[in-house]
Each structure stands twice: as structure tokens, then as C-alpha cells.
């Protein structure tokens, strides 16, 4: 056993035993870091290859709302509702992704199409206020501790679910990172035509990573909804969420496996820290600092925090924008 796997085991042991010793409020924060970390990781599956989606709020919103609606109105267990929402998200990703990739809608244009998608889902949720509660949000019908309803008032249960989901996210990230897909996608990110010329199925590669990213984001949204037990279009869908995903992932660094999670850690620590520091009188303080940080990150270290520590395997396309330290 080498030092690396020992460290890994120790880290896992700490993570697994954490809820036994941590107080409730802190556990709540850790669960949020894990769930957001998972969603940011899902986004960066695409984002690291330059397919910047400004519409991941759409997938998160579908993931959160579909199981809750099925549960409230049809009495359908989230064990069915969540797969349904994941399939719907994946389908939506194909419906948008296929024409985009087919017609080479890239860069600005891709970002703006996904931005429109995010708005469409947000506005649908708001407009269907008869069943979704509109801007007021909705609450899944609570039944107490239940595996059938996937509701656990005890945070420790949710901690393990969040941990499992987060680990799955990392495994998917790693699988793509180690596989041939990564090479193909990096080639596509550099030059689509050249990639196609050497025999890479550009459409298929892009579509696959997009569908995986959308499906995982939907899972994240669903678990988030089950955890918070309150859904609001502004907090689980829409531009604000989409941009938050983009920012946190980039701040942490989209080129390293733990980068998005570091982004989640940073943003949640910042939000909570400022909330405790200033009290609730300064609602905008955290986001004001987010905004400034995002600008600073993009200008001075586009590879994110973990990018600073990462010296190996700098993709050539990014090398020119990376900090020279």
C-alpha cells in the first residue's frame, strides 16, 4: 500500500465518521458543500472543455421540481421520480445539445442558447404557478423519516446520501479524465475541425459529456430538494443559480478533480462567514464579494485556486491564459 492510498483511506475515514462528532449546523454546511460540490463537478465535466453552459439551472430545476411534483400530486416515490427527472434532463440536453453541436453553435452562441434554456425552464416553473406555487415556491409533502419518500429529518442520514452522491460525481469525473474521451474532448476544445479530421466523432463526444453533465446536475437538484424540503424557482433554477454554478466551479478550478468542490467550500464559507459577520442586514454582501472575486479570478487566474497548485498537464490552449508562477 503506498502513501497515496493510505491518505485516501484516512480522508474517507474522516468523511465517514464526521457526522458522529459534528454539531447540526456545521453538518448542514458540510452537506451543502458536498451537494453543491457535486453539481459544480457535474458542470465542470463540460466547462473544462470550453463548453460553457449558462443554463445548468434548468437541469437542476427539473431535477428538484419533477420528483417533488410527482410526489405531491401522484404520490409517486422519489425513487421513481428522481430517475424520471434525470431522464427528462438528459432528453432536454439532447434536444438542445444535438442541434447545437450539429450546427456548430459554439462559444458565445452556445452560452447564450443555454442561457435561454435556463430562462425557459425558470419561467415555466413560475408560470405554472397553479401546480408549482410559482415564485412562492413549494414544499414536498412531509411524512417524517421515510426511505420510501426519501425524507430524513435527521441530517446525519442526508450527510451519507450527500457523501455518496459526491463520491459518485468524483468517480465520473475521474473516469472521463482518465479515458480516451478526455483526449478527444481536449482536441475538440482546441479545434473542432481538426479533431473531426483525425476521426473523432465530435458530435457524439460532445453530446455524451453534455448528457452526463445534465443528468448528474438533475440528480444534484433532486437530492437538494429532498434535503431542503423547500423549492423556490430562484434558488434551484434560473440565471442566478446557473451563474453561481459557473463562478464557483471556475473559482475552485475546473481542471482539477477537487476544484469544483473547493469552489463550493469557498462560496459556502464566504456566504456563511459574511452572514455571521455582518448579520442579515447585509443581504448582498456575499454576492458583492463573489462578483469581485469572479472578475479577479478570470483576469488573474483563470485556472482557479487549484490551478495555482497544478503544474502538470497544462492543456496547450489554456497555457497562454494561465498565470506564470
Amino acid at each position: 500500500m503506498n502513501a497515496r492510498s493510505v491518505l485516501l483511506l484516512i480522508a474517507l475515514a474522516i468523511l465517514v465518521s464526521a457526522p458522529l462528532v459534528t454539531p447540526g449546523y456545521f453538518l448542514h454546511l458540510v452537506i451543502q458543500v458536498l451537494l453543491w460540490g457535486f453539481i459544480y463537478t457535474a458542470w465542470s465535466l463540460m466547462g473544462r472543455f470550453g463548453f460553457v453552459s449558462l443554463g445548468h439551472g434548468a437541469f437542476m430545476g427539473i431535477g428538484a421540481y419533477v420528483p417533488a411534483l410527482l410526489w405531491n400530486y401522484e404520490g409517486l416515490t422519489p425513487w421513481i421520480g428522481i430517475p424520471v427527472s434525470v431522464v427528462l434532463s438528459a432528453l432536454l440536453a439532447v434536444v438542445i445539445g444535438y442541434p447545437c453541436f450539429r450546427l456548430k453553435v459554439v462559444g458565445h452562441y452556445f452560452a447564450l442558447v443555454t442561457l435561454a434554456l435556463g430562462q425557459v425552464v425558470l419561467l415555466c416553473i413560475v408560470a405554472a404557478r397553479d401546480i408549482t406555487g410559482g415564485s412562492l415556491g413549494m414544499t414536498p409533502r412531509a411524512v417524517g423519516h421515510s426511505w420510501y419518500a426519501l425524507q430524513f429529518p435527521d441530517k446525519r442520514f442526508f450527510y451519507y446520501i450527500a457523501l455518496a452522491v459526491w463520491l459518485i460525481g468524483l468517480l465520473v469525473w475521474r473516469r472521463i479524465d482518465k479515458g480516451m474521451d478526455r483526449e478527444a474532448l481536449e482536441a475538440i476544445a482546441e479545434d473542432e475541425d481538426a479533431a473531426a479530421a483525425v476521426g473523432i466523432d465530435v458530435l457524439r463526444e460532445k453530446l455524451r459529456v453534455t448528457v452526463i453533465s445534465a443528468a448528474l446536475t438533475a440528480v444534484g437538484g433532486a437530492v437538494f430538494g429532498q434535503y431542503l424540503m423547500y423549492l423556490n424557482p430562484e434558488t434551484v433554477a434560473g440565471i442566478a443559480v446557473s451563474l453561481q454554478i459557473v463562478f464557483a466551479a471556475i473559482a475552485g478550478g475546473v481542471y482539477a478533480m477537487l476544484g469544483p468542490t473547493v469552489g463550493a467550500l469557498l462560496t459556502i464559507a464566504l456566504t456563511e462567514g459574511l452572514r455571521v459577520w455582518f448579520g442579515t442586514n447585509f443581504i448582498g454582501a456575499a454576492n458583492t464579494i463573489y462578483g469581485i472575486l469572479l472578475i479577479v479570478f478570470i483576469i488573474f487566474m483563470p485556472r482557479g485556486i487549484l490551478g495555482l497548485f497544478e503544474t502538470l498537464r497544462v492543456p496547450r490552449s489554456r497555457a497562454s491564459t494561465a498565470p506564470t508562477d
Binding site: 458565445h108 425557459v120 463562478f247 462578483g291
Partner: protein, 284 residues
């Protein structure tokens, strides 16, 4: 024809004027500097707050408040360019877009921090004109007229002045113009200022019709991008046409269903058109 439908069509036309003005500003910046300012509509929000504070709170005459807002937002536009855009001019286009995304976050939250989330109304009541049973808001009519005048002024400026010619030249070939002795960074600053001024002018017109709040930019921002892209980014005439197409969809759609569904329809229309005509509706 149903009189309310006629009213919806006319209101759509009037809304289109202001949207066209916004799209012109954004298109100018895109065409010349090749950067998408995601936070463009939030500059409008700043302008609306300026008008609100100067007129409703400090009691300045509205005309003076308008002029200060236009100049202020123009300066803000220059500031945005110098502080945020200039350092990332050579970076990947998507990084530029994200940097202005950070600006969007910053402006919205900073406004929340300073002014709270209250909806603030300018408190200027303009009359409603009745024409043959149709009720048309004077504020909208004026906004439409001023927006059209602004568009014509911009057109003349770009066609008839030396600076305008230089701006158009840069948008056609940014590398060659540097060799021809045109100072690019100066043109960029000028363009950002003009783009900012157009945002300021839109802010004045919008402040007569809408309440100002920190997230008012989200109402017009995404729509403005969609309009620019629909018209073909950088294509001013395309953007002008697209503004009226989108505003009619929203206005007439709002007549048949709710406003939200009308927006859903407009955005879906945008997505579908992106696939049918990726280079814009007027592209050949």
C-alpha cells in the same frame, strides 16, 4: 379585430423601440470590441437608480437627472472597459463573457446592499392618450420616439463623422486598422462610452415605465442578448428588426396567455431560430 389585440400589438411596437436601443448599444460593443457584456442590462439598472435618486429623492429636475444618468452610465461603461475588459482582451472569448458575468453579480448584489430589494417608483405620472378607443401610454410613446431618434443619431454618427468611420473600420478588421494608424484602445474606450450612454438613455426611458430594483436588469438582460444574437451579433439592422419581432411575441403572447408564457414562447423561438438561422435572421 379585437381592440385589445390592437393595443397589444401597438404596445409591442413601443416596447420594441427601447429594446432596439438596448440591442444597438450591445451590438456596437460586440461589433467593435468583440466582447459580449453580459452585465449590459445592469448598467441600465445603475442608470435607473441614478434617475430615481436624483429626481425622486434629491428633487433635481428630471431633465438634469436624465443628463447626469446618461453621462454617468457612459463613464461607467468606460470604467468597465478599462478595469475589466481591457485586461482580458486577449483571453478566450468565454473568459470575457464570464468576467462581465462577475460584474453582473457585483452590480446586482451591490445595489441590493446599498438600496435593499424594494421596488422604487420614479413617481412621474405621464398621461394616457386615447386614440379612437385605444389607450396608449404617453411614456411608452415618448420612449419609442426617443429610442428611434437615438438609433438615427447613432447611425448618422457612425456614417458621417471621422470617429464613426474609424469605429466602423475597426469592426471590419481590427488588425489592419492598427497598421493604418488608428489607435485601437482609444476607439475601444470611445465605443464603451457610447455603449454606456445608450444604456443610460434606455435607463431614462425605462425609468418612466418600470419600477427600479436591483434585479431589474434580469428582466431586459437575457432578452437583449437574444435580440442581438437573433439579429446576428454585431449586425445593427438585424438587431433592430429582431427587437420588434421579440417585443411583438412578448406583447401579443401576453395578450393570449400570461406574461411568463409569452417570455417562454419568445425564448423558445430564439432557441429554435438559433438552429434554423445561426447567423441571424437577416443573414444571407
Amino acid at each position: 379585430m379585437d381592440i385589445y389585440l390592437v393595443e397589444a400589438i401597438i404596445n409591442g411596437l413601443l416596447l420594441g423601440g427601447v429594446l432596439a436601443l438596448l440591442a444597438l448599444g450591445l451590438n456596437l460593443i460586440f461589433g467593435v470590441i468583440d466582447v459580449v457584456w453580459i452585465a449590459y442590462a445592469d448598467l441600465v439598472m445603475c442608470g435607473m437608480y441614478a434617475v430615481y435618486w436624483l429626481h425622486a429623492f434629491f428633487g433635481w429636475p428630471i431633465g438634469v437627472a436624465f443628463i447626469v444618468a446618461i453621462v454617468g452610465v457612459a463613464l461607467l461603461g468606460i470604467l468597465v472597459h478599462v478595469l475589466i475588459i481591457a485586461p482580458v482582451l486577449r483571453a478566450a472569448p468565454i473568459n470575457q463573457l464570464l468576467a462581465t458575468g462577475g460584474l453582473l453579480f457585483f452590480l446586482q448584489s451591490f445595489a441590493t446592499l446599498l438600496f435593499g430589494t424594494d421596488f422604487r417608483n420614479l413617481g412621474v405620472r405621464l398621461p394616457i392618450i386615447e386614440v379612437g378607443g385605444l389607450f396608449i401610454s404617453y411614456a411608452r410613446l415618448m420612449a419609442f420616439a426617443v429610442a428611434l431618434a437615438g438609433a438615427v443619431a447613432l447611425y448618422l454618427f457612425l456614417r458621417r463623422t471621422y470617429l464613426g468611420t474609424a469605429i466602423r473600420a475597426i469592426s471590419q478588421d481590427r488588425d489592419i486598422m492598427g497598421l493604418m494608424g488608428v489607435d485601437q484602445s482609444r476607439i475601444y474606450v470611445m465605443t464603451s462610452g457610447i455603449g454606456g450612454a445608450l444604456a443610460g438613455l434606455s435607463a431614462c426611458l425605462l425609468s418612466l415605465q418600470y419600477d427600479v430594483h436591483p434585479f431589474v436588469g434580469n428582466t431586459f438582460g437575457p432578452l437583449t442578448f437574444m435580440i442581438c444574437v437573433l439579429g446576428g451579433l454585431g449586425n445593427m439592422i438585424g438587431g433592430f428588426v429582431a427587437a420588434f419581432v421579440m417585443s411583438e411575441i412578448i406583447s401579443v403572447g401576453g395578450y393570449y396567455a400570461s406574461t411568463e408564457w409569452a417570455y417562454v414562447l419568445a425564448f423558445t423561438f430564439f432557441i429554435v431560430l438559433m438552429f434554423l438561422r445561426p447567423r441571424g435572421i437577416l443573414a444571407r
